[in-house]
């Protein structure tokens, strides 16, 4: 009797292990790699400005077919409504640099970086747009997501281009025009001694090149 119980237990463990393995195989995870780039462009009363960074944290989780089927036809989350790959990325505000420390500090204050250290984006929908080339690259997507800056969240729709690189890495490229005031950020108007007051335009453009690779 005792022996039988043991068999049952081992059987349960084996079944569970298989189930977990099957679930794990349901998705692949692509994680951030060095070489990622992000920038924000804006305007001001004296000149245009840009801040740049090289830190994009996060992961893109999708069915394994994403790697094997370059046509993406079998990747349901990218072709059927209601399904979506899982992606959440974040950018530390302090990693964005203008080349001028004082400007960086003003930007960090405007973006309330002490309380909200990161810009966060969460993907909610991603669908292939147009034809996928036979080589599988580049592919355009229509995406929807939630973008959180300075603690304020706004829906964010944008076209994203995916490039499959020779070394197996995958790069997602996109850009989005935004308004600071949509995120409750008052455009900075710093007073630099000896100059007229600078005013910053409300419109900004955020651009990114997110380099990822399948996690080992």
């Amino acid at each position: 009797m005792k022996l039988k119980t043991t068999y049952w237990t081992w059987g349960t463990v084996a079944a569970l292990t298989l189930a977990v393995a099957a679930q794990a195989a349901d998705s692949v995870r692509l994680t951030s790699k060095p070489g990622s780039k992000v920038s924000i462009d804006g305007t001001s009363s004296i000149h245009e400005w840009t801040v740049e960074g090289a830190i994009i944290k996060g992961a893109f989780e999708v069915e394994p077919e994403f790697l094997s089927d370059k046509s993406l036809k079998s990747v349901k989350s990218l072709t059927t409504d209601g399904a979506c790959p899982k992606a959440e990325i974040s950018i530390p505000i302090r990693s964005l640099k203008s080349g001028k420390q004082k400007m960086d500090e003003i930007m960090q204050e405007a973006m309330k970086a002490t309380e909200h250290k990161e810009i966060v984006y969460k993907l909610t929908a991603m669908k292939v747009k147009g034809d996928v080339p036979a080589t599988g690259t580049p592919v355009k997507f229509d995406t929807k997501g939630d973008l959180t800056i300075a603690g304020a969240t706004q829906p964010c729709e944008m076209e994203v281009t995916m490039n499959r690189l020779d070394d197996g890495k995958v790069k997602f490229i996109g850009e989005k025009k935004l308004k600071m005031t949509d995120f409750k950020i008052a455009p900075p108007s710093p007073q630099i001694p000896g100059m007229d007051r600078i005013t910053t335009g409300d419109d900004i453009t955020i651009k990114f090149e997110w380099l990822t690779a399948p996690a080992k």
Binding site: P34, A54, K57, K97, K102, D104, I106, E109, D196, T199
Partner: protein, 439 residues
């Protein structure tokens, strides 16, 4: 001050204009970096005083093995932990950056231990009094790319001088011919003490066994400017010196010295120092075929040749008279807009910040940014390959606030040490290029 016409260009502070409606006045706050200071002698205390004026420089620890100095240092920063043993200061996890302000010949032990303990390091200039020690310090700094190392060559951070060098890079001087620098100040250089046992320890500057001499201790900053101005290191040094005035007090360091440094392309630079006469103080001159530049402490003037190309802003320039010559004031932050104001015309203030303040501020800003960059990179991409991190740090390094790095520190220190050697042997030293290279 004699005015020779034209409108002066000055970086005068004006009252902020009333903010237009809907504008914001973000000032931005620099993140703090916790500082520990090793060495509370006169210069260490000057550093502590300056740090107390910087909002993002909380001093959390001070150290000196001499109780009277430790007490005097601690009085300036009452909240700081006091240590007689620097190893305990380095073991304090709250300390993120260490400033080494001990006698020059003792720097190496503190700097190497601080880097090993994972602290950012500011090491006073000269880095050392021997080539071996200077090389060991600079090499260790190079091997710790995740830590910020800054030699105390404060001119490299001083907005006034950074601006001057940028201006010179525009080619206004023409062909570089020669230059000179001097330090004239009547002072015994001896530190008085009632404790005879401390006598030798405190007066390390007066003995060749522990001192870089006048050129090493005082000249290093002026020689650094020459290296920086010419974007080069010297190829030879010749020198003479004498102990003339203070010869009866037991010292063996010369009180009058002169050295000639030869730079590439035939340029030569004379350095001369005396602590027995004060006439004409501290100054530097750089002569070119189109103009001469004069530096006095943190101020600079340009004397143009009659046949030099017009710059276009001569009419706006503030000019000062020096005997028969008229020099155009060169000053950071000067704009034509400033020149239109009456206050600017009246003001003769160089800069509200000292060179040391610029240097310490930039050290802490760069330390924070480097630390934050390394952390963000590793949190995001993991340890990964060393090359990826190096490439990232190289890119990030372009945003560094102006400051000397380990290479600048090593080159200035080696230049001063070799100039002192030439002075002591009263002869000529050829300086191999390899002397200035680090492994």
């Amino acid at each position: 001050m004699t005015m020779l016409g034209g409108v002066p260009i000055l970086a005068a502070e004006e009252k902020p204009a009333a903010a237009p409606e809907g504008t914001t006045n973000y000032k931005g706050e620099t993140p703090p970096v916790n500082v520990g200071v090793i060495g509370c002698g006169a210069w260490g205390r000057e550093i502590l005083k300056t740090l107390s004026t910087i909002t993002f420089a909380p001093v959390v620890a001070v150290c000196d093995h001499y109780p009277a100095y430790l007490r005097r240092g601690a009085n300036l920063v009452p909240k700081a932990e006091k240590y007689a043993d620097y190893k305990e200061l380095l073991a304090n996890k709250d300390v993120q950056a260490v400033i080494v302000a001990t006698p020059s010949h003792l720097h190496k032990e503190f700097v190497l231990a601080a880097l090993k303990a994972g602290k950012h390091v500011y090491c006073e200039a000269p880095l050392a009094t021997t080539i071996d020690d200077a090389r060991a310090i600079a090499t260790a700094a190079k091997k710790h790319p995740k830590l910020n190392f800054q030699p105390g060559l404060q001119n490299r951070s001083d907005k006034q001088i950074v601006n001057l060098i940028k201006f010179v890079r525009s080619g206004v001087v023409g062909t570089n011919l020669c230059g000179r620098a001097q330090f004239h100040k009547k002072m015994s250089w001896r530190i008085a003490t009632s404790n005879p046992e401390r006598e030798a320890e405190m007066n390390w500057r007066l003995m060749n066994a522990t001192s870089g001499g006048l050129v090493g201790e005082l000249g290093v900053h002026q020689l650094d400017i020459a290296n920086w101005f010419y974007s080069a290191t010297p190829v030879s040094a010749e020198g003479v010196g004498a102990l003339s005035h203070y010869k009866d007090d037991g010292r063996d360091v010369f009180d009058n010295v002169s050295a000639t440094l030869r730079y590439p392309n035939g340029i030569y630079f004379n350095y001369e120092a005396t602590i027995a006469n004060s006439f004409d103080g501290e100054m530097g001159m750089f002569f070119g075929s189109d103009a001469a530049i004069m530096m006095r402490e943190r101020r600079a003037w340009m004397f143009k040749e009659a046949d030099a190309p017009a710059l276009g802003w001569e009419v706006y320039a503030k000019k000062d008279q020096f005997y028969k010559e008229s020099g155009m004031v060169l000053k950071a932050g000067a704009t034509k807009q400033d020149a239109q104001t009456a206050k600017a015309a009246a003001s003769d203030v160089v800069d509200e910040k000292s060179g040391l303040q610029y240097a310490l501020e930039n050290f802490l800003i760069n330390s924070y940014n480097l630390g934050a960059g390394v952390k963000d990179f590793l949190d995001t991409y993991g340890e990964g390959s060393e090359d990826d991190l190096k490439a990232f740090l190289k890119e990030q390094g372009k945003n560094r606030e102006p400051a000397a790095d380990y290479q600048d520190g090593y080159e200035a220190t080696a230049t001063a040490i070799k100039a002192n050697e030439a002075i002591l042997k009263e002869g000529k030293l050829e300086m191999g290029k390899e002397w200035f290279q680090l492994a």
